[in-house]
């Protein structure tokens, strides 16, 4: 569903997440960064949800920064 480049980008972003964090994805449950990296690698439904989360954030970031600057 997602290209290898996108998967690698998301895996790198997840690797930089602190180890004392858990990420809950909808009704799938909670995951450590290592668990999510595995899911991304497997191309599972959970992995795809994690990719969607990261990519959506990256795409929205320019407008979020603009909103943050305007509301300061």
């Amino acid at each position: 569903m997602y290209s290898e480049d996108i998967k690698e980008l998301v895996k790198l972003r997840l690797m930089s997440t602190p180890s004392n964090i858990l990420i809950s994805i909808g009704g799938f449950g909670e995951f450590t960064k290592d668990q999510l990296i595995d899911e991304v690698e497997k191309g599972s439904e959970i992995g795809n949800a994690a990719i969607r989360m990261e990519i959506t954030f990256l795409r929205k970031m320019p407008s979020l920064s603009k909103i943050a600057a305007e509301t300061r």
């Binding site: 858990l22 809950s24 909670e30």
Partner: protein, 162 residues
């Protein structure tokens, strides 16, 4: 207000809804709380009986339904008529995609605010029992809480002025 509390994410929803309840009470609104054990029978009968004009739903969900305790589907597509004439904020996965759209398009729901994908939470491993102390998760919940606190106040002001 509907608040589930049976797993880590719904526990966060349960706790982080408290500031919304406090603000609503301070502003003089009547808040009826359903939860932490939310069943289909109870939620539908309370909505019918009390006829609230704003519903704040916290729990798991899917495109077709909002879920109660232990993921029991409690408000599904056939139940959409329950939203007629109401504003709804559904803090649950995917509900805006199907349930919300049908409620607005076909059943006279005034407004349905929700999510079209999974609701994501990021939290500290040490904060499971004290969500309000979780500085990592805080921005997610404060942003999400802005929907009921600002929508509700604005809507009521408009109703009062009309």
């Amino acid at each position: 207000m509907v608040r589930n509390d049976y797993d880590p994410i719904t526990h966060y929803m349960y706790e982080w809804s408290k500031p919304v309840i406090s603000l609503a009470a301070k502003k003089g609104f009547d808040v009826d709380n359903v939860g932490p054990v939310v069943t289909k029978k109870e939620i539908l009968s309370r909505i019918e009986k009390l006829s609230p004009d704003f519903l704040f739903l916290n729990g798991h969900g899917s495109s077709d339904c909002f879920c109660g305790y232990e993921n029991e589907p409690v408000i599904c597509m056939p139940d959409c008529g329950i939203f007629r004439g109401k504003m709804v904020f559904s803090r649950s996965c995917d509900c805006a995609k199907g349930l919300g759209r049908k409620a607005v398009d076909k059943h006279g729901c005034t407004a349905f605010i929700g999510y079209e994908y999974e609701f994501i939470n990021v939290r500290l491993t040490t904060s499971e029992l004290t969500p309000m102390n979780d500085y990592v998760s805080r921005p997610i919940w404060e942003t999400s809480n802005a929907v009921p606190t600002r929508t509700r106040v604005t809507a009521c002001q408009r109703l009062a002025e009309s």
